[in-house]
């Protein structure tokens, strides 16, 4: 059976079949997650409320403040990518709750007893969180349209937005998975989730540029993955928008963080059931 595979096949072929295993496992997990999401999409809509409030109320009021340097664009256009990134963060950071729920139900036990790679189980979750982010992107675009924000309709740039959002959602959901593996209870997770979201949001460039921050906060912001997501989006989502870093750099930083988090999560995931 499978145990004899490496000996029978040349190394390259064995690698390819290994890769296919990963791919099959990841899509199986992601597919199931998405099926569940679309069967009960209430969460998606309730998550859309917050960005509307931020853009329509906070954004409108702060547009009157002239002290925030936003480059060539209005403050509302400046903060739109920030609010997209925020809504991705706020949704993905609570992803771990579902994992703790699955642990209490024994679903995690069953997954871990299967021969699927631990890494695929973790990445499958991240991929589905990525797709979830795409739906949120669609909603934010609708709000932006309604507010007559100058959206950049270049198809390549839109693809870039989708990719960056998926990457960011995958990163934050994997971070959330790690927290879930450490705290293991819903109550404790809710507390920690609440404590984390606002600092991550405020210690980023989502609603004001880094240059306005005190030095110590700038240091925190540079270490904050949200900053790179916002920066990537700011360069390509809005007409006339400017990013600090080139897009490839922003994406590379996020990809690296995701890789690091995923390898930690794959190690910790089995401890959920111990």
């Amino acid at each position: 059976m499978t145990s004899a595979r490496p000996a029978e096949l040349p190394a390259a072929l064995a690698d390819a079949s290994h890769f296919l295993d990963f791919f099959r496992e990841i899509t199986a997990i992601a597919q199931v997650e998405l099926k569940k999401l679309f069967r009960d999409p209430t969460e998606l809509f309730s998550r859309a409320v917050q960005p509307v409030l931020w853009l329509v109320i906070f954004g409108k009021v702060f547009s009157k403040v002239r002290g925030i340097p936003t480059g060539n664009v209005s403050y509302l256009a400046f903060m739109t990518p920030g609010i997209l990134a925020q809504s991705v963060l706020f949704t993905a950071i609570f992803y771990g709750i579902a994992v703790i729920w699955e642990r209490d139900l024994g679903i995690v036990h069953k997954l871990l007893v299967s021969p699927a790679h631990r890494t695929s189980l973790v990445i499958g979750k991240a991929v589905s969180a990525g797709f979830r982010g795409l739906v949120q992107t669609f909603i934010i675009y609708l709000i932006a349209l309604a507010l007559r924000i100058q959206i950049n309709w270049n198809p390549l740039d839109i693809l870039g937005v989708l990719f960056a959002v998926a990457l960011g959602a995958a990163t934050f959901s994997t971070f959330s998975l790690i927290i879930a593996c450490i705290v293991k209870s819903r109550e404790r997770f809710m507390g920690i989730g609440q404590v984390l979201t606002m600092p991550l949001f405020f210690a980023s460039n989502a609603i004001y540029p880094l240059a306005m921050m005190p030095n110590w906060l700038q240091v925190v912001a540079v270490l904050n993955p949200l900053t790179y997501l916002v920066d990537a989006l700011r360069g390509i989502m809005i007409r006339g928008g400017q990013s600090v870093h080139p897009l490839p750099l922003d994406l590379a930083v996020m990809a690296l963080i995701l890789l690091l988090l995923a390898s930690i999560a794959a190690k910790l995931y089995p401890t959920l059931v111990q």
Binding site: V32, K35, D40, G106, K110, V113, S114, P115, V273
Partner: protein, 275 residues
């Protein structure tokens, strides 16, 4: 498939543990247990709550690494070759672990994919398993609409989909009504008859253990207090002894006692999900 097995004996057992031990800090949950379960046997693991049954199952199913000792399952060492063990076992956890937001068919499909079944085989295996467990008609319905007995049958279907050599079930009939319980137990007997599946089951129900299992081991405080056929175990205590008597004799406690808050909450939760 036999190449590379870790077992040395000519006719290896499906499960074989030598001085298997697991500690959590200062507490020894499982203390040097030796179990031998031949292929095709239905083996019952009994004992009061906290005796170490679940920890033993977790080690045998590779969820937990032993602190010391060895365990071979289907010929492979659980600590050294967990991936080989996982391909050859099925597991039904104590909680109702089927995903309620998916249909029965989708639950099984997920397993089929995670167990690496070829695309061509998946559909036939899934519908075969559904039929075997008497769930063909409910296959397209969401699992949250299933009765407790149906969910358990679905889980057994899920655990046997890849034709495991050894099937582990942790208190599979807890919270089920008598009819549902009988159906589940009958299916387990059929599994052994049709596929020679080795079955290790934990239970609190002495009648069930008596009726289903070929051999029982009674665990107490992390050790195996006694092993034997149900009839032999009863005979040692006298002509009219029941398994309840055996249980009380070896565990030194009545069945009513024992069990911490966590165990009971877990059990209640499972029972309430079963409605």
């Amino acid at each position: 498939m036999d190449s590379g097995r870790d077992s040395q004996t000519a006719e290896p057992n499906a499960i074989e543990t030598i001085a298997l031990t697991r500690c959590f800090g200062d507490m020894t949950a499982v203390d040097h247990i030796d179990l031998r379960v031949p292929y095709g046997q239905i083996f019952g693991l009994l004992g009061p709550n906290g005796a170490g049954k679940s920890t033993t199952i977790k080690m045998l199913t590779t969820l937990l690494v032993p602190t010391s000792g060895t365990a071979l399952v289907a010929g492979f060492d659980v600590a050294k070759r967990p991936a080989e063990v996982r391909r050859r076992i099925g597991y039904v956890p104590q909680m109702l672990s089927a995903d309620g937001a998916l249909t029965g068919q989708e639950n099984l499909m997920l397993s089929a994919k995670l167990y690496g079944m070829a695309r061509a085989d998946r559909n036939s295996r899934v519908s075969e398993a559904l039929q075997f467990m008497g769930l063909s008609e409910a296959a397209g319905k969401l699992v949250k609409t299933y009765s407790g007995g149906m969910i358990r049958r679905l889980e057994v279907a899920q655990a046997m989909l890849h034709r495991p050599t050894v099937l582990f079930l942790d208190e599979p009939t807890i919270g089920l009504d008598p009819v549902a319980r009988h159906t589940v137990l009958d299916r387990l007997r059929d599994l052994r008859r049709d596929f020679n599946t080795t079955i290790l089951i934990t239970t609190h129900d002495m009648d069930e253990a008596d009726a289903l299992c070929d051999v029982l081991a009674l665990m107490h405080l992390g050790k195996v207090a006694v092993t034997g056929k149900p009839a032999d175990l009863k005979a040692t205590l006298g002509p009219d002894a029941t398994l309840d008597d055996v249980f009380v004799h070896y565990s030194g406690a009545s069945i009513e006692e024992g069990g911490n808050f966590h165990d009971i909450r877990q059990t209640r939760r499972t029972a309430s999900r079963l409605g």
